[in-house]
């Protein structure tokens, strides 16, 4: 069995992991970046819309172009990249079990940054397993990466940013979006994304959910129903839509398996998608030397993931003796300011509060005498 040693091992090559790897390597650390896919970039590679925010967050640049920039940064910084490498376990003494190009290998690292991302939530209803019912991310992968249209008549369940963006992208790819169905009484995502669909005449069914999906061997019809105040369906309000594809955009949950294995303390934060590891402002968990960044710390956006990645990469490198003093402090303060900006305003209130609880939990845990 192949054994590898590195100073910093980063698990996950999405926006958080790429940013962490580049920063740690730039600071002088020897970095190994591990990603299960053949192509790095995480979900950025299928984002064909322009990002917003400030210049620091690549405003006006499309997601897949941001991925290219981050990949160039990683190469320029001298990071060793292991793609097609699945990190399946994190064992004591910071040893990662990895299957790299089909062969088992053991990676020993002095510091570990976990940036595994998130996965889509599933919804169960009669017919939810029929071919043609799929994650919104699956439809996006098929259309934008594999360049194959997953269907011609689409119903989107969920009006968060994923639901809105994927709906529009499927239209750009040539499909009809028959309806966007949303359980809440308001659209979940940004107005600018919703407006594109509204202008194109896509009907929104608010306070509605899917009652059943049906078809002979594959999806042909989606029955939706209105829901009342307590999320109970209202009999007599059913409506049947003809569709060959039903996309589920019901949120994401953090992929925390490796953080659990490492023994990190966790807390439950619904706004972040479930159980998330406690971490301090430097992104270190309650297990010394194990850092987290991006959606694994709570589902937010790619912009947040990049900033958290930078923070984790700089901090991991610092703890190994790379970089110190006023310059590093100033850089971290700038990152923190940008993170605060991303969680500013009314929309960010719940995430601000959740992040505060997450860092407080890490502090409590340390005072209380280490990890559970």
């Amino acid at each position: 069995m192949k054994k590898l040693r590195t100073e910093v091992a980063v698990v996950g090559g999405g926006p958080a992991g790429l940013s962490a790897a580049a920063e740690a390597a730039r600071a002088g650390a020897k970095v190994l970046l591990i990603d299960e896919n053949k192509r790095l970039g995480g979900q950025l590679v299928k984002q064909i819309h322009k990002f917003f925010g400030s210049e620091a967050h690549h405003a006006g640049v499309r997601g897949y172009q941001i991925a290219r920039r981050l990949l160039r940064d990683v190469e320029d910084a001298g990071v060793t990249v292991a793609s097609n490498a699945l990190a399946y376990g994190l064992f004591p003494e910071k040893e990662l079990g990895v299957v790299w190009d089909g062969k088992h290998c053991q990676v020993s690292a002095e510091r570990i940054v976990l940036a595994a991302g998130a996965k889509e939530n599933y919804l169960a209803f009669p017919g939810s397993t029929l071919p043609g019912v799929m994650g919104a991310g699956a439809a996006q992968t098929m259309a934008n990466i594999n360049r194959v249209l997953p269907g011609r008549r689409i119903v989107m369940l969920g009006s968060g940013n994923v639901g809105l963006i994927v709906s529009y992208q499927l239209m750009q790819a040539g499909a009809d979006v028959v309806a966007v169905v949303e359980g809440a009484d308001h659209i979940g995502g940004y107005g600018v994304h919703a407006a594109k669909l509204r202008r194109a005449g896509v009907p929104f069914y608010l306070s509605h959910t899917v009652k059943r999906a049906s078809g002979d061997g594959a999806l042909a019809r989606v029955e939706i129903v209105q829901v009342g105040k307590n999320w109970q369906s209202i009999p007599g309000t059913e409506l049947t839509l003809e569709a060959d594809t039903l996309c589920l955009a019901a949120g994401l949950n953090p992929m925390t398996e490796l953080a659990w294995m490492a023994g990190c303390a966790f807390l439950y934060l619904p706004a972040f998608g479930g159980h998330v590891p406690a971490h301090d402002a430097k992104m270190e968990t309650t297990v010394p030397g194990v850092y987290v960044a991006g959606d694994i710390t709570g589902v937010e956006e790619a912009s947040t993931a990049m900033e958290e990645g930078r923070m984790a990469g700089l901090s991991a490198a610092e703890s190994l003796g790379y970089g110190a003093g006023a310059a590093l402090d100033a850089e971290r303060a700038a990152i923190q300011r940008r993170l605060d900006d991303l969680r500013a305003g009314e929309r960010g209130a719940i995430r601000r509060e959740s992040k505060a609880r997450q860092t407080a939990a890490a502090a409590d845990q340390r005072q209380g005498g280490g990890a559970t």
Binding site: E36, I48, R62, K119, E120, T129, L130, P131, G132, V133, M134, G135, G137, A138, A139, T141, M142, A143, N144, N146, R147, V148, L149, P150, R152, Q172, A173, G174, G217, A218
Partner: protein, 105 residues
């Protein structure tokens, strides 16, 4: 249906055109694309059938996580076709139950 031209991404990259075999029938594919993409383009929706209720399953996650797209590829069962590249002459079969062919289900 292939998205040959795209308003943002432009024309699709031209790859080598190959043929794979779905339950014995020839299906056009592009070398290296996921098997599932070639099948979806050909109109295939059901990829495998479940063990207990013999229900159809199709593409669900498309990133190798959910296992709904597992098929028998060149005789090997439980291959995730959404992340396995197509190669010329590949034999792809509907998988029944935990990895068998229909007669074994």
């Amino acid at each position: 249906m292939r998205i040959t031209d795209h308003p943002i991404l432009g024309p699709a990259e031209a790859g080598r055109e190959i043929t794979i075999f779905y339950n014995g029938a020839p299906v056009p594919a592009v070398e290296g694309e996921p098997i599932a993409a070639a099948l979806m383009n050909a109109g295939v929706r059901s990829f495998r059938r479940t063990a207990k209720r013999d229900e159809p399953r199709g593409i669900f996650c498309a990133i190798g996580r959910c296992t709904d797209c597992m098929m028998i590829v060149n005789g090997k069962p439980n291959v995730r076709t959404c992340i396995t590249g197509a190669a010329d002459g590949m034999r792809v079969e509907t998988q029944y139950g935990y990895g068998g062919r229909k007669e074994q289900a």
